[in-house]
């Protein structure tokens, strides 16, 4: 079975990830997921593709810590995080987060926590490739 936390170039399957998540326990009543996708438009500009770069070793270890933090903080049964590092087109998958709990409130809270924290903690950067040229997306500090 694939690792619970991964950085990979290739796309992923929600069905596979959910099956792997559920395999751990038959007591999971609610699974909340977040799927982040590439958009064809950002801050007023058309975007053709998006390219990602990561500080790979740190990104993976931060994602693993984040999963464990969420499991502990929200009492999850299990959780998974997958982030693609690739050049993707509009509509393509970028990131997938799944949180499985006995009840839905914890699953939702944990899923949201993981994507919010991932954006703050995990060293990944995106470059938007537009008809007018490329630009790194670097939110102002």
């Amino acid at each position: 079975m694939k690792d619970q936390v991964r950085i990979q170039e290739e796309d992923f399957s929600q069905d596979e990830e959910i099956a792997a998540l559920k395999a751990s326990c038959l007591r999971m009543g609610g699974i909340a997921t977040f799927l982040g996708c590439a958009r064809d438009f950002s801050e007023g500009r058309e975007v053709s593709r998006i390219s990602f770069e990561a500080y790979g070793s740190m990104a993976l270890s931060e994602m693993k810590k984040l999963r464990l933090d969420a499991i502990e903080k929200f009492g999850l049964i299990d959780a998974r995080i997958v982030h693609r590092i690739a050049t993707v087109s509009a509509g393509d998958n970028i990131v997938f987060i799944a949180a499985g709990a006995e009840h839905r409130a914890a699953a939702f809270d944990a899923c949201r926590y993981m994507i919010d924290e991932l954006k703050m903690r995990v060293p990944i950067w995106k470059k938007e490739i537009t008809p007018e040229g490329d630009a790194w997306v670097s939110p102002h500090p």
Partner: protein, 79 residues
């Protein structure tokens, strides 16, 4: 030697993915930061996070061990 790495938007401004910096007795993260900021002022305009050996480093007074891997990073934009 300290191994300095740059990524993404910072590389675009430093023109390099990294460099080696001589380790000095008593060297802190701030010393290294100031030295590199003088060398790459444009890049350090967007640097707002640092990591040492793959761990977030928020305390600039942190002493650096020889052979550390240090990264100065722009705000993340993953997810």
């Amino acid at each position: 030697m300290i191994d300095v790495l740059f990524f993404g938007p910072v590389v675009e401004r430093t023109g390099t993915r990294g460099l080696k910096v001589e380790h000095r007795q008593g060297m802190t993260l701030k010393h290294l930061r100031d030295e590199l900021a003088a060398k790459y002022p444009g890049a350090f305009e967007i640097v707002c996070l640092a990591a040492v050996d793959g761990q977030h480093a928020r305390d600039l007074t942190m002493p650096l061990a020889d052979r550390s891997e240090v990264t100065f990073m722009a705000r993340f934009s993953g997810g």
